[in-house]
Symmetry: C2
Subunit: 592 residues, 2 copies
């Protein structure tokens, strides 16, 4: 069975040494309740839960074929119910939620690290509370006081769960064309009718009630995305005293059979005149959804880190144990029939690629978490505005770049196993299958890239990225000379130039930005990771222990072995969109 040990020392290093978390928390009265001792205690608890409770359930859930569906009822895999009970009782559902509703009010900087452990050990399990957290965020932000009182406390005790019902069979990225209808009743409620697909946790047996947040169109709503409203549709009506009442007219029609995350129930949900309650104002549903999107999309990036960390640990252990061949510089273990495959440069190259990705990704998640914490907790308006811009810019990186690189990382980790990587019992192939969805859901990575290059870059003439680059240059200026410092400055210059080129090209060539979006996303991702290695290096440089000094080696490895991808990305961006757009639509499907 696969192994996992939470990287607690690295997490402490990133919070404490790289981002001076204590100072940041203590300087803000809204975060003064948290310090490193508390943070580490929380992480240690989650390390135990993830390793002892949910790790083994991940393999068994997959082998069982995942969640089961029969006559509208979903049964979660063996052990999930008990694990979710422990999870709820531990207060984990509301770890980042407001104390007012029973949450623990922990900063995102910390919760990203706790989340990583669950993503490492059981991504299917993670999706059950994750959707509740997201639904809770939308309700907290936009719903009435009465709605908050009704639903939020039940979410954070784990008694009820939440969903987000957006996608329809014909409408995914393009939500403007949804068909689900909301007909007003005289009592102010609505009757919701329509079919939603790909609804994570739409039906399951972990909670006594499921609260669906549903996008639908009221009669005479404006066409397109400006005519979408958000509704609460409970699976069971809620009685006046808060108890669970009669069944509402919403049910699961089936669950999807998927490549991975089989333990997570992905449901087709049928709303047959189900009673719903509007959240916020009519036609402002999409805006309400976007409130939680930045948080959710960061979660997908953390799914990537979790998977790649799990993959790394198992691959490094396998490579240590597997004896095969001899070192190119002569026999290293003469007492054994062969040397460990760690003597081979190619195996080390793969492991270092994965490890460099993980350490940069984790730092980046904490960095973005800190920006989100500023937007939520800071009382300094200028700081909030700046953090909001930064979050807007970096959310597509957090979602798409972190999952793109994580998939490649898990593939390289699997390769370290040779043939055994392809065998289910080792858990590597499941890790890849489970992770793959992170690049697809919550907006495909292509859509994220288009968001980055469009709304976040060309729309503001590159202002967001310019501010980010200024921060990176300012930081580099505080560093002693090093390979990573030079690289951070050089990549800043290159991304700045690429951005200017893109802004100009987009003015005259409407298809340009979509055509080069993914390459630009990766360019900004590389910039972000070299910035993280700059911060890591500065924090580690003065400390003589090998734990810290090895981080400097890994940073150099990143600069020399990963960063060269920027040269390829830049060339592709400069090649533009002409060759991409000139072929006819018929070309693509013509028999060849």
């Amino acid at each position: 069975m696969p192994i996992y040990n939470a990287p607690l020392k690295d997490m402490d290093f990133i919070l404490n040494d790289v981002f001076n978390a204590d100072e940041f928390w203590q300087s803000n009265e809204n975060l003064a309740h948290i310090d490193m001792a508390t943070a580490n205690a929380i992480l240690e608890e989650m390390a135990k839960f993830s390793k002892n409770v949910i790790l083994d359930l991940n393999r068994t859930a997959d082998e069982e074929g995942g969640a089961q569906f029969s006559n509208g009822v979903v049964t979660t895999p063996t052990g999930f119910k008990d694990a979710f009970k422990q999870f709820s009782e531990g207060g984990w559902v509301g770890l980042g939620a407001s104390e007012e509703w029973g949450g623990q009010n922990m900063p995102k900087m910390l919760t990203v690290l706790a989340d990583e452990m669950i993503w490492s050990t059981n991504p299917s399990f993670m999706l059950y509370p994750l959707l509740t957290v997201g639904a809770g965020m939308a309700i907290n932000d936009r719903a009435s006081q009465e709605q908050k009182e009704t639903y939020l406390p039940k979410f954070y005790t784990g008694e009820w769960s939440g969903t987000m019902c957006l996608t329809e069979p014909h409408s995914g990225t393009d939500l403007g064309i949804i068909k689900t209808k909301a007909e007003p009743n005289e009592d102010g409620s609505f009757n919701i009718t329509g079919t939603k697909i790909f609804i994570t946790s739409g039906e399951h047996d972990l909670c006594e009630n499921i609260i669906h947040l549903v996008l639908a169109k009221t009669p005479n709503a404006p066409a397109g995305s400006r005519g979408i409203s958000l509704f609460i549709v409970p699976k069971f009506h809620v009685n006046a005293d808060g108890s669970v009442g009669e069944r509402n007219a919403v049910s699961a029609g089936s669950i999807e059979h998927k490549m991975g995350i089989k333990g997570s129930a992905t449901c087709v949900m049928n709303f047959d005149g189900a009673k719903g309650y509007i959240v916020g104002k009519e036609n402002e549903g999409l805006a309400a959804m976007f409130v939680m999107m930045n948080y959710e999309r960061l979660s997908m990036g953390i799914q990537g880190i979790g998977a790649a960390e799990f993959a790394y640990q198992n691959a490094a252990q396998y490579a240590t144990d597997r004896l095969q061949g001899r070192s190119a510089t002569g026999v290293k273990s003469p007492e054994k029939p062969a040397d460990s495959i760690l003597v081979h440069g190619d195996v080390r190259r793969m492991l270092l690629n994965v490890r460099a990705n993980n350490e940069a990704s984790r730092a980046f998640a904490v960095y973005v978490g800190q920006q989100l914490d500023i937007t939520k907790y800071s009382t300094d308006e200028a700081a909030v505005k700046k953090a909001n811009d930064r979050v807007a810019l970096l959310t597509p990186i957090a979602k798409a770049y972190l999952t793109d690189t994580a998939l490649q990382a898990t593939l390289e980790a699997q390769m370290c196993f040779g043939g055994h990587g392809y065998i289910r019992e080792w858990g590597m192939e499941q890790c890849i299958r489970d992770l793959r969805i992170s690049q697809i859901y919550e907006g495909t990575n292509g859509v994220q890239a288009i968001d980055l290059i469009g709304r976040k870059t060309t729309k503001c003439n590159g202002a967001f990225i310019a501010e980010y680059i200024t921060e990176i240059r300012d930081f580099a200026a505080t560093m002693a000379d090093s390979k990573v410092k030079s690289a951070a400055l050089q990549v800043s210059d290159e991304v700045e130039a690429l951005t200017q080129f893109i802004v100009e090209q987009s003015k005259t060539t409407p298809d340009f930005s979509s055509s080069v979006a993914v390459d630009y996303l990766h360019a900004v991702g590389l910039l972000s990771f070299v910035y993280m290695f700059a911060r890591i290096s500065k924090a580690a440089a003065a400390k003589p222990e090998s734990f810290f000094q090895n981080k400097l080696v890994l940073a150099d490895f990143y600069v020399e072995k990963v960063l060269p991808d920027l040269a390829a990305r830049a060339q592709r961006i400069k090649a533009g969109s002409e060759l991409i757009m000139q072929l006819s639509e018929e070309y693509f499907t013509a028999q060849s």
Copy 2:
């Protein structure tokens, strides 16, 4: 259900226009029995078989959970038995085998294209005849006349099948440490004892007998790979009259549960003093195996093409049908609720990446097939030597580069489906799972890269690649000026310089070549593909029809959008091995 239509027009183009197959065949008396009309007729038959017989069985086999094992007996998925009967009766098992033994003696240039269709539609099915073909090749090359007469005709009627038993639990890449023993009997036979794992088609119900080719060590054999012999071990003994006799002491202990190719039975084989017959001379078993390795490894590359072609066709169709959002240049289909997603540059970018990969890969497979045909059929010694060198150089590219790029291609194709790509019924996720093994088996792609940079490059001081580059430069010299001609010349210069650098570095730094091997493999792969696009472009340039002219656009796309990867590879190679090798072995597993 997924679609598939064999790319017959492209196949004809490559054989006829790009490689002048008729001229090549007719100029060689050993190949004069084949012409384009016959070739196309064969390909049309295979197009029907692959689409009508095995395509649908691919999905059902996966849904059934693949081959089933019970008490030593393997049951293949529904429909495989009947399909294999049709396949055998069609003469497909022996398509490339000698007429002397019942084969059809078709050149590799052609069989690679027929094989591609099976790999596209049912890779699990393909593995049953593939191993027979490989075993037949080794027997044909090294076995006694009596052994050939006993086994080969039965292989090509499909009555019996073959396996290759190399890997053991502790011994994969490093075959020098195998433990399976061969004890001589007085009658010249041997008793074979040991356990082999990952044995494709080791046990199944498609044939009346299974002939295992087994690597084992005789008593007092030299240590390491020089002490390995090859044995024929039939599942059932063969009576003097050629009929099937008593059961031999070999049986399947279990089958593996895998990421994909679930319809293919991957067996643990236990040899308990099974009677075996030596093939060729004692201690020359590994050499006998290598006879067929070049052919088999090319097959893995064709698995890549097959998967990526299947993925392309389905993704292009989905992208054409899926309406979502509007074109950046204004509404394209005002009569519809949204435009086809083919209007988006990012979707086109992905599809063109896949298509460019497939067209270059297919041309490359035919090119390598032609080189193999020269080694087999030519009577010109100098030409045979040159082709042998070329095959030696390009086999790692055919195996590893074609499967590396194919995996990325299938991932991009899956992404075109958005969420639907993750759902099993669309077949895209199975395509990826099935393909993934191609990078791992027959020597992992890392091992292939080390073979390329070591035995094929530094060992001969770069002579093989120098000859290849000379051919490319000579070909480019025959072309009119174009983007792809310039690129072919430029990449030739760059790969030449990289090779010289590698040859020099390897002299003083033993770990260097393994550390940069995969990057060098990709550099030579990019060179090979730009060479293929040069040949494609030259063949297409003079023809005005859009089918041909579009190939020029695709070639330019390749140069501008794919080839930039070379810049990154070159930088990584120049960064060398120092940062990779300096960290201690303990670093990799130390708790972090």
